[in-house]
Structure formats: structure tokens, C-alpha cells
Symmetry: C5
Amino acid sequence: MARTAKKRSVKAGLPPGTLVHIGEKTGEVPKIRIVTYSDKGSSVAEVEKPEDCPPLEKDTGGVTWVDIQGVTSPETMARLGEIYRLHPLLLEDIMNTDQRPKIDAYEDYLFLVIKTLSVNSAEKTLGAEQISLVLGRDFVLTFQECRSAILDPLVERLKTGAWRIGKSGADYLAYSLIDIIIDGYFSVLEQLGEWIDILEGEVVSSPTRKTLLSIQQLKREMIFLRRSVWPLREVAGSMERGESVFIQRATRVYLRDIYDHAVETIDTIETYRDMLSSMLDIYLSSVSNRLNEVMKVLTIISTIFIPLTFVAGLYGMNFEHMPELKWSWAYPAVLVLMALISACMVIYFKKKKWF
Amino acid sequence: MARTAKKRSVKAGLPPGTLVHIGEKTGEVPKIRIVTYSDKGSSVAEVEKPEDCPPLEKDTGGVTWVDIQGVTSPETMARLGEIYRLHPLLLEDIMNTDQRPKIDAYEDYLFLVIKTLSVNSAEKTLGAEQISLVLGRDFVLTFQECRSAILDPLVERLKTGAWRIGKSGADYLAYSLIDIIIDGYFSVLEQLGEWIDILEGEVVSSPTRKTLLSIQQLKREMIFLRRSVWPLREVAGSMERGESVFIQRATRVYLRDIYDHAVETIDTIETYRDMLSSMLDIYLSSVSNRLNEVMKVLTIISTIFIPLTFVAGLYGMNFEHMPELKWSWAYPAVLVLMALISACMVIYFKKKKWF
Amino acid sequence: MARTAKKRSVKAGLPPGTLVHIGEKTGEVPKIRIVTYSDKGSSVAEVEKPEDCPPLEKDTGGVTWVDIQGVTSPETMARLGEIYRLHPLLLEDIMNTDQRPKIDAYEDYLFLVIKTLSVNSAEKTLGAEQISLVLGRDFVLTFQECRSAILDPLVERLKTGAWRIGKSGADYLAYSLIDIIIDGYFSVLEQLGEWIDILEGEVVSSPTRKTLLSIQQLKREMIFLRRSVWPLREVAGSMERGESVFIQRATRVYLRDIYDHAVETIDTIETYRDMLSSMLDIYLSSVSNRLNEVMKVLTIISTIFIPLTFVAGLYGMNFEHMPELKWSWAYPAVLVLMALISACMVIYFKKKKWF
Amino acid sequence: MARTAKKRSVKAGLPPGTLVHIGEKTGEVPKIRIVTYSDKGSSVAEVEKPEDCPPLEKDTGGVTWVDIQGVTSPETMARLGEIYRLHPLLLEDIMNTDQRPKIDAYEDYLFLVIKTLSVNSAEKTLGAEQISLVLGRDFVLTFQECRSAILDPLVERLKTGAWRIGKSGADYLAYSLIDIIIDGYFSVLEQLGEWIDILEGEVVSSPTRKTLLSIQQLKREMIFLRRSVWPLREVAGSMERGESVFIQRATRVYLRDIYDHAVETIDTIETYRDMLSSMLDIYLSSVSNRLNEVMKVLTIISTIFIPLTFVAGLYGMNFEHMPELKWSWAYPAVLVLMALISACMVIYFKKKKWF
Amino acid sequence: MARTAKKRSVKAGLPPGTLVHIGEKTGEVPKIRIVTYSDKGSSVAEVEKPEDCPPLEKDTGGVTWVDIQGVTSPETMARLGEIYRLHPLLLEDIMNTDQRPKIDAYEDYLFLVIKTLSVNSAEKTLGAEQISLVLGRDFVLTFQECRSAILDPLVERLKTGAWRIGKSGADYLAYSLIDIIIDGYFSVLEQLGEWIDILEGEVVSSPTRKTLLSIQQLKREMIFLRRSVWPLREVAGSMERGESVFIQRATRVYLRDIYDHAVETIDTIETYRDMLSSMLDIYLSSVSNRLNEVMKVLTIISTIFIPLTFVAGLYGMNFEHMPELKWSWAYPAVLVLMALISACMVIYFKKKKWF
């Protein structure tokens, strides 16, 4: 997933409410699933065309959940918008899969945008898909960016009919959906935590330039992650404070749970960021340390041999009148002198703790 | 566009409300366009002099939009101020094109200052023009810093008469205007995103001092951009909260859309800033790394040859009593010794992982 | 204790309220202790199975405290939840020992999550155990992550019966419990302060790479500590503001005391973080300083001997026509020249204050 | 002007309300100017002694402005305090010219402290003088630290009598005074902007240690500037919100203008700070770059000549049995070998992009 | 004074309200001074034992001030607590001299904790003593950590009986006490300012490692200072907002003065911190600069002499067939060549601006 803004400009100049898909996948046929449940039981059906979606009836005593996977076709979206009387701006937001998580209160429903996160282990990057959720008095609509199995466990649980959502309304269903999505965040955080642990070992034992690039890439993923999760806190907080008529008192305690999860996720992200910053410091100091070590080797070798070479050069001069050259013990004496100079140097470096 | 404060001081000492143009372009004749529309239809006219602007009539059942392009002439502005009964401070703000985006509530109208952004691809800089917007009960005035085509799509849409602004009032027109301007921000962000992506590749593969200066320049443009966009959040937020009588309930949902766009723009700017900071870290560590590499080459060459040169110097001495010089196998032995010293050094460096 | 997120993902896809233990220790049999006291006296009992826990009776005039140590078994927790009518989400939070400190108001009780801290002196790391506290009108339940003696002093004080908790209600008992936990924080801070003092001496006198790693590790522990303590401020503040019916007016002055302690703990943590950052600066400048010193030694030796070696090399040339070679005073003159060059260099370095 | 705290301690131990001048200039005779205006006309007078100041009469239908320049004499201030019934703490604040800008509401008047800024172009420093302003229902008192002409344009405008302040009250006069002072800030910001632009050119093209010190000095002036301007935002905001009875509704729109100016000033200061920080980064990277360059030159020269010198040394050895020495083509062969070694090195450096 | 947390852990496990002295001095006999004043006059007395303290009588029409110096003895404190009916937690706070400044409202009095600051010029460190202040309707109690003369000027002023505190109540006395303490802060800030000025000169002209340690130590003192002063803002703000019945309306304007002083103190501390950070930057860049200089000297000397030494070595080779050796003008030609090489190098370095 690109980290810099893309494609949004195709909409410049178009009237507000024009439906244009902004995102990556196109051309996929949307999959539409309709789940209804009431005290009497539950049913799961799949329809082929948006035209086949049943309109919402009031006071049926049941809850209807329509799950649309794939939001790239403007026609489909316009059709669904008509059937469920959705505001044009809302449809625009659903199709623009580059949205920030948010909650908007409309007259007849609440509208939520949330991100599901996934990990690409090979490239060590994160991916995000957008799920839009419309919560009405007795219905929930979910719009997923593309086909995905993330909400399937909930469909299974609903199928059994024995689950206590049977006693609760659409708001509890919405909570269950959000809960599944946020539980997915923890897997992502664990994967990131593992990568950080590995990097940490690497940075202490044998840091290379590749380590630096990995740290920086992880930092960048954290920026991306934070951007996807941070607004969720606000969303959950606003829901919990119970400003909406679509959320019953009894469900609020569950929404508080979501708020807590969002806060914990953000907390962990901040901790990871701090840890990555610390690693960068260690890396940089490692580079300095290695430069130090290189310089020490050079300095030790140079300072030991340069004086010796000078002495050798001295007695390599061709002056005719150099009395030392004729003394028979001069050569061994010079060798001893050289040994002494070396010894002094070595002692000096030992004292300086250079080895 | 200059990034440091300019020209503002010409006003020091003048009484408040004195009209002085503060900005770049001067001497241009303003272009004035008058668009009216009601349930019955729409008309677009252009007038030559400010005197020809029709005064506002109340309860006509229609909406009037006067678009003035070019605000450099104090006389024109004073004339317009009289016709539309604008507060002197408001006129002063319009002519000072160095304003911060803001919203001011007057008794008879709302006053907004917004920036349109543009990209100078050649110099990799951003430009900003100021648009001032006065929103009354059934009229909208827009004052642009200079001639520009940015609002033309809206004029075209109004001309057709088929657009649903016909059913909405002046506040929806104002929203449409702001929407066009903010949509333009996304193009700018995409362009910036592209530059950042290119720079990122450069900083990882072959960073030069020019890369650093480019990073710094982009950072500077981000500061400028942020300063132009940040206050917009407040402006949109204040409009959405519906504190003004000039904005109808039905329009508020649209203003929330603008608020969301402003927040997203700011979010993206912050992300870009973080990415540029990371790049700076990578650049700096690259410089350190290269120094390390240079030093390693020097150290390897020096530490291999300095001892050898010493040995050569040793046997270049002219002592008469150096028995080795006469041994026939001495020369090859010394060569072997030198080879051994070199080998030791190479092994040492291999172990240190210096190559 | 791991610093990166762990194990949480086992819950992904499970329905909310499913009891799964998230934490480190498993398989331990929980220890359950029941303390009751009223104006007439106090009693302490221990039960083996959760089934033996007495249900709460209303209006007994006394206070019951049930202390459960070890929360790993879902069955036990479900059983306790039934006896004391605890909300499923609450039980979930208790078993997830990776919670952030928090306070949740339920209809029949207040629910608090707090951390107890401990120091592992050998590895210089911190540990945290979670204590969950349920405060009702006349009962207190405490759930500890594993067996620990931290609350024992309070049991001893209650046993004597002479303590003035006899006159106070369950809220005062809860306060006393929190007070004991927070008092433990100060020991941890003192231990950290000692380590920081030692590190500070080290970083000034003889910093090594190990010092750096210790600083970074302490910084990391501070991040962890802050994350455990920071939310407590909010918890204490919310209790003190008296938003709950379970806390009497008279107890609030004590809760203010807890709030003050939390603020002081956070203050101290921030101070330590600042100190560790300063140390890092000192360390890094030490590394630079040492590089400087190494380079100076190399430069001094090189610049003194390189010119001398050149002079020696000059008179080692084998040209036939070098008149100096024949002068009898040439050799001593060259030696004097070399001495002069050295002296100049030494004076130059003295002036530059290189030694 | 000193940037660190000074002289304030002379007041330690004295009772509150004791009048002691804290500031730089002393011994100057204060200049007192009295301006009155009403619907009938305006008059400007100058008095010599504070005793000659006319007491304030109520309901004269006019506005009186007393401008006192020079606040160093406790006697004068005490006298003025008596005439105009000023609170002792207010007098103390006026004489302590080291105040932070602030607004205090007293029962009979509003009290404002503002700073006027000036630029010392030679030393590239900023200066600040304090102006205290007392705003009553129909009078304004201004106390300037020393004689200055900053308010003279307003006196001139009042003299003409044709200015519309004639229709407005004391609050509009106060606004005009503050407006003049804040307009002066923009000149200061422009001057700073010019210095920053110059420094920026310098830091990119030829940074020296002097550049660094200039950047740091400007940063320091920004700290000082920010401290003088930042609280003004609060002051203007508090006035605009209209919490005082001394400010009429009609004047509030003007105060909003002042608030906007203050916010813009702060914005610009923050932008400058960011720009200076960027410059520091560029400077530091320049220093690193230059070190790199120096090292490269050393490394290139050394690694080319060290092996050559070794070869030359090799054949300078005095072994009797060195067959090569006798070959007639040996010398040219060695020269070719040396050329080859040099060429290899140069190619290696070219490949590494070291030139 | 230690900068890391100390001794607090002795209280872990003790019941809340247990009196234990936490601080540095012990064993001193407390000095108790009783000052009373009313419209009729004033009296100052000293008592030996806490038992001799007169109980507080209501409605005497006068104000009583009891000043206790030395709070180390639990018995004394318990006795005083009984006489003046002080809450056990309050007594605990007084004896724990490691408190954060704070204000607590009790039913019968306000409780304040403030710090007095002092400078240890020899070690360039700051010291802090705690003063606790209890303000009731007609009495003030002050508890000082140890004997000190800081409040003596107020006693002297009260003795004269002519001071206008005679007309004011206990709240004005409390204000006067706090005013004296805060006035003392300015002396400390001036002293710090002086040290900073000296360090600044040092860091620009001749920075050494000692300079760095001094900067770091001052930074550390700033952390300590900030921690002692920062909460005072909150304390003063809360008093000024007049939330307490113990503070009369007329006194509030004085408390605003204290608030202003606290804000100014904090402002100055922040400015100092910024200045110290700038100095650190300058220091670090100085170190880099010096390394640069050292490297330049090495590089200049090496690159000039290494080629010359090579040339000398070249003609020191012992090949039999080296025609140049026999040419009579060869030696002077080589000398000229060497001079040319040196000249080229020098010109190259001049162009690079290395000298």
C-alpha cells in the first residue's frame, strides 16, 4: 500500500456527491450477503445483483445485516444507495477507500469508517482495507473494500442461532463487528513486536546499513498504523458517550471495551515508536564506535611504525661523514632502540586503554 | 512565493481600516462576474466597472454570486464595500493577501478567508492565492487575489440550470466553492507525495548534498503548506457546529465533509513531515557510513604498507656491519616475511569484517 | 516481562466475553482468602474451591473482602462471576493481565485495574503484576495475577480488629489496598534512582558501549513504567472527583492523597527520563571526544615524523652529484635541522592546545 | 537587552505594593501629555509635574487620554496613583518593566501590559519596551518605559478632530493604541525575515562557524520574541470574548482583528523557528560533509603513494644478492609498475565516486 | 540535595496517616513562634514545647500565626495536630518533605505546600526546603523543614503594628508569606542567569569537556527547579479563581499577582532550558569543528610530504642502470620538482580554503 497520497485528484472539479472509486482494486464483482435474525431464528442468503437486495421493512422485530464486499462499481453503489436511502456524501465516503476512520451521525443512521489491518510478512509492510458500517435502528450495512473473510466467524455464530445476539439489537451486532476488526489489530501488533525484537537483537550485536533501513521502514509503518488507528479512539469515545439514539444503554458497556482496546493499541504503537527511536540512537552510536575503532587501529599502527621508519631512513642517508655507520655495534643498538620506541608506544596505548 | 514575512510594515502608523494592497501582483484590472439563479433559471453576466454591480435586493427568491478577480485597487474595493455594505476591517483583510485562513462572523454575513494552492513543478515550490468569501442570507461574494479559472467548473454547472443547487440556498453555493478549493489540495499533496517518493529512492541509493537540500526545501514547503491549511480545520469545524444563522441545518452535513477533508489534508501533511524527518536521519547516517568506508580504505592500505615500508627502510640502512646484507638467501627471506605480514593484516581485517 | 505485545491474538474471532487467560503463569491453583469485619470484630478464612465462596448478603452491617490470587483458570473465574454477579467483560478484563490501568463504573460496583511493580535486580528490569479490584457497597473483591504477599500487611492489620477501618466502609478498605500498592512504586523508583546515579558516575568517568546499552535499557524500562503508571492518574482523579456512589465523602480526602502520589510518581518518571536523555548526550559527546583525542595523537606523531622522514629520504638518494654529502659537518647540521623542525611542530601544537 | 533575568531580586523581602523601578533607564524626567476629545473637538496639552494632571471627571461626554513617558520615579508614580485611584499592585506592575504581557480586570478599569519591539540592526538583536495601558469608562492612561514617538501618529490624528474616534469611546482609543503597537511587530518580523534569508543563503553556499553563531543568536532572539508576543494572544482573546464592561459590542470586531494579528505574529515566529532549526541541520551536515571531503583527499593521496613508496624502499635495500638490481630494464619496469599501481587506485576511486 | 527519589520506601506497608519524617535533617529541636495581631496591636512570642501552644479561639477579632521550624519529630507533630485539629494525612504530608507543591481544601482550612529555593554557589547546585501552610478563617500555621530566617522580615513588619495587614485577615497574611517565598525565586533565577551567561561565553570562546558537564549539570538543576515551581502555577491559579471560602474577594487581586509571578518564573525557566539546549548544540558543533581542524592539519602535512618522500625514495633505489643518477644537474632538478609539487599542493589547499 502506498504511503503517500494517491489518485484523489481525479475528483477535483466534479460536483460533490459524484461517485468515483478511489483505491486500488477495480473490476471485481461485488459479493452481497444478507443475514437476518430475530427471536424466531436466523437466515443467511446471498444475492447476485444489488437490485435483488430486499428493502428495509420497519418493525419486523428482527435485525437485517447486509454485507457488501467490493465497492468499486458506481452503479452498484448508486443502486444500493437508493434501496437503503443513503446520503450521497456517505456513498462517496464508502467508495473513497482512502478515508480516515470516523463516525458521522445522520438522521436515520450512524455511519462509521474503520480500517482492517493485515501484515505482508515477505515485504515487512502493513496493509489496510476499509470497512464502512451503517447502523440503523434495526439494520446494519457493511461495505468492504474487497472480498475478505474477516467477518465470516460472526456469520457462523449467527447461523447457529444460539448466540445471545438474538436477544440484542442491531447495535450489539455492530459492536460485534467492530470487536472482530479490533481484535485483528492485536495480531498485527504482535507481528510488529516480533520484528522489533529481532531488529533489537540485530542492532545490539551486528548493526549494518540494512538494519538502519529496516528500522526506518518500521518507523514508517508505525506512522501509517498510527494514522489508521488514532482516530478510532475518538470514534469509540463518541459512541460510548452515548450521543446517538441508535445505541442502547446496555450496549454502551461493550463500546467502552472497544474504547479501551483502541487506547491500548495506540499505547502500544507509541511504545513501539519510542523503542524504534532508541534503536536508531544505538545504531548511530554503533557507527560512531566503529569509526573510533577503525581510527584506533590506524593510529596504533601508524604511531608505532612512523618513528621506526624515520630512524631507518636516518641511517639510510648517504653522507660520507657519519661515524655511527662504521661502529660495529651500531646496527644492533639501533634495533634495540627501535624495540624500545615500540614498547613505549604500546605501553602508552595500554594506559589509554586503546586495546 | 516568499516564505518570510514581507511588505506588511507599510501599514504601520496608518489608521485601522485604511485600504492598502499587500501582496504580489498589482495593476491588473479586476474581472467581475455576476451569477444569479433561482427556481426559474440562472444567468451569468460580466460587468466592467465595480459601479455596474447591482445592489443586493432582499427576498428576491434567488441567490446572487458576485465573483471579483483581482483585489489590488483600493478604489474598486472601497466602491464594492459601499455597494455591499462591507465592514472596513473586512475590506482590509481582503486586500491583505497574506492573511491566515479564518472565519469571522459579522452581523449581516459570514466572512471566510481560504487559500488555493498550486504547484510550481520546475522549482519544486508551492504557491498560494487567497480567496475571500462573504456569505449572506441570499448572496455570496468571492474575492480572488488575481484572475484564475479555479471556480469556472462551478459557473458551468450553474449555467446548465439543472443542478440541484437550484433547490439550495447561498450556503450550499458557498460549500460548493470551498469544496472545489479543497479538492485542489489533494492534487498538491499527490505532487508532493511523488517528490517525496523520488527523494526517498535517492536517499537510500545515492544520497548527495543536493538530496539534503531538496529534503530541506520540501520540509520548508511543508511548513508553508501547514500554515496555509491548519487554520482551515478550525474554520470548517466552526461552520459545521452551526454557530451561524447563515447556514441551514441541511447544509451542515456537507460542511462536515469539508471538515473531514481538512483533517485528512493535515494528517497527510504530518505524515509527510515525519517521512522527511526519517529521510534526514537516513541521509545523515549515510554521510557517517561513507566516512567510515573512506577511513577503512585508508586504514587498510596504511596498516598493510607501513610495516612493509619500515622493513624495507631497515635494510636500506648503510651500516657497515649488517651481516644479513651479505647472506645470499636474505632478500627472498625478507620478501617472504613481507608477504606474511600482509597476509596477517588481511586476515585481521577479514575477521573484523572490514571488507 | 516482555516489552512488546504478546499472545493477545489468541482471542481474535472469539465472541466477546469469552474467558481466555492472557499472561505468563498458568496452571497454578488459585488461593482464595475471605476477610470480613464489622463493628463486632473481624475474621479471616481461606477456602479451597471457588464454590465455597459465600455469596454476598446485603445489609449485614459488615464489610467482606474476597482476595483471589491466581486468575488463570476460566472455570474458576466463571464460577466466581456467577457468585458475585460480575459482568462477562469484567471477567475478561481480569483474565487479560495485559490491561492498562483503568476504572470502569458498572451499575452495582466500580471496577479498577492497577499494576503492582517489582524490581529484578539481577537483570535490571522491572516486572508488573495486575491487580483487579471490584468495589461494591459493602464488599471488595481483589484478583491478583498470581500468588503474592503484597496485601498481607493489610490482612494483619484487619486481624487485630483495632484498626479504624472498623469504622469505615468498603471504600476505605479499597483505598488502603491501593495505598499499599502505590507505596510499592516508591521502592521501585528508589531502585531506579540508584541505578541512574551509578550510571551517571559511569558516563562521566569511563563510558563504554555497555554504559550506552544500560542507558537504553533503563530508558526502555521507563517507557514500560510510564505506561503502567500514567493511566493511574486518570483513575485516581476520576475517583477523587467523586463521580461514584460507592465512595463516601469522607473517603475522598484519602483518594486525593492517592492522586497526589500518582502525580508524584509520574513526575519522578519524567525527571528520570530527562536525566537519561542528558546521559545519552554526555555519552555521545564522550565518543566524539575520544575520537578527537585519537586523531590528535595520530596527527601529532604523523606531522612531526613525516617531514623528518622526508629529509632523511632526501639524503638517502643516490645521485652522484650531491655536494652536501661530502661536507663533513653536513650530518650534524641535518640532525640539528630535524630537531628544529620537531621543535616548531611541538610549539605549534602547544599553541593549539593539543596537549 | 539582557536575555537572562536581572535585578528583580532587589524587591525580595519588601512588602507587596512597594514601588521600585525594575528596568534599565533611570533618572529621566517623565513627559506627560494629556489629550481630550469629545463631539465638540479635541485638545492636546503637556504638563510638567504629575501634580498638574487633572483629576478624572465623570460624565463629561468626552474621553481623556493621559500618556506618561518614563516610569522610573516612585514619587511620580505614587502621585499619579493617587490622582487616578490606581491599585498599588498595578503601580508596581507598571514600574517593573520586566513584566509579561497580560490583562487584569480591576473594578474600575482594565489593566493591560504590552511590549513594543524594536530592532538593533548593528548588533542584530531585538529590544523591547513595556507599555502599560489602563482603560476606564471614559479615560485611557498609557505608561511608557521611556520617551518614545511610537504613539505620536495617533496624537496627530486626534488633533485633526476629523477622525471617527470622535464618535467612539475610550475602548476604541485603546484599540487604536494596541493596533499601532502590533503593526510595529510586523516591521520587526520583516527585519528578522531578511536576516534569515541572508543566513539561509550563507548556510547553503559557504557556512562558517560564524554562521552557526548567527543562527544560534537568531534562535535566541526568537525565544525572546516569542516570550514577548505569546501571552498577547491570550490578552487579545480575553478582550475579544468581551468579558469586560469597559469594551462595547461595536469595538469587539476590532479586537478580533488584533487577535488575528497576534495569532499571525505567533505563526510567523513558529515558522522562523522551524526554518532556523532546518538551517542548523544543514550547517551540521555541511561540517560532516567537509570532514568527509578532507578525509577523501588524505585517503586518495595516501593510498596512491604509500604502495609506491614501499616499492621504492624495496629496491633501496642494500642486500648484496638482489639480482633485479643488475638487470638493465629493471628501472623502467619498476616505473611502469608504479604507474600501473597508481592507475588501478585512480580507477578504484573513480568507481567509488570519490572525485 | 539528591535529584533521584530517596527514602520514601520506608513507609511501604505502614497504615496511611502514620507519621514518619522523610527528608534530610533529623534530631533538631523545633522552634515555635506565635504572632498575634488585631486592630488593637500585635504580639510576638516564642514557646519551647508544642504543649505550650495556645489553642485557637474563635471570633477573637484577631489573627494568630504559629510558625513551626523543624518538623522531624513525630511526637511534636502529633501533639500539634491534636491542638489545631489537623487531618492525619495533612500531618503526613508536612513531615514528608519530598512533596510536590500543592493545594488541598479541607473542611476547616486550606492546606498549601510550597518550596523555598536556595543556591549553593560553591557546588553550583540548588537546594529546596519545604514550607507547609495551613490557612484557616482567623489563623495561619506555617511548618518549615528546618530553622530558617526567610519569614523574619514579615515578623518585623508585624511587630511595628503600623502595617496594613492590621486591616486585613488571615488570607492577606498567607498571601504575604507566599509573596516573600516567591520573591526569593527571582534571586535564584538571577544567579542561574549569571551562570548561564558565563557558560555561554565559555562555550563560544573555549569549550572543554568541563563546559559540557557544567551545561548538563545546569540542565539537571533546571529539571529540578521546574519540578519545584511548575505545580505552583496550578496552586496559585486555584487560589485566585476563588474556590475557597477562606479567601476574601479583596485578597484575590493579590493572589493574581502571585499567579503572575509563578507564570513568569516558569517562563524564565523554559527560556533557560532553551538557552542551555542551544549551548549544547554549539558545544557539539565545536567538537566537530575541532576534529575538522585536526584532520586538516594532518591532511595538509601528509599530502605535501608523502609525494616528496616518494620521489626521494625513488632516487634512493639501488638499480645499477639509472641514468638520471649520473646527470650532474639531476639533483637540483629533483629539488625544484619537489618545490613545484609542494607549491601545487599549497595552492590547492588555499583554493579549498583550508587555511
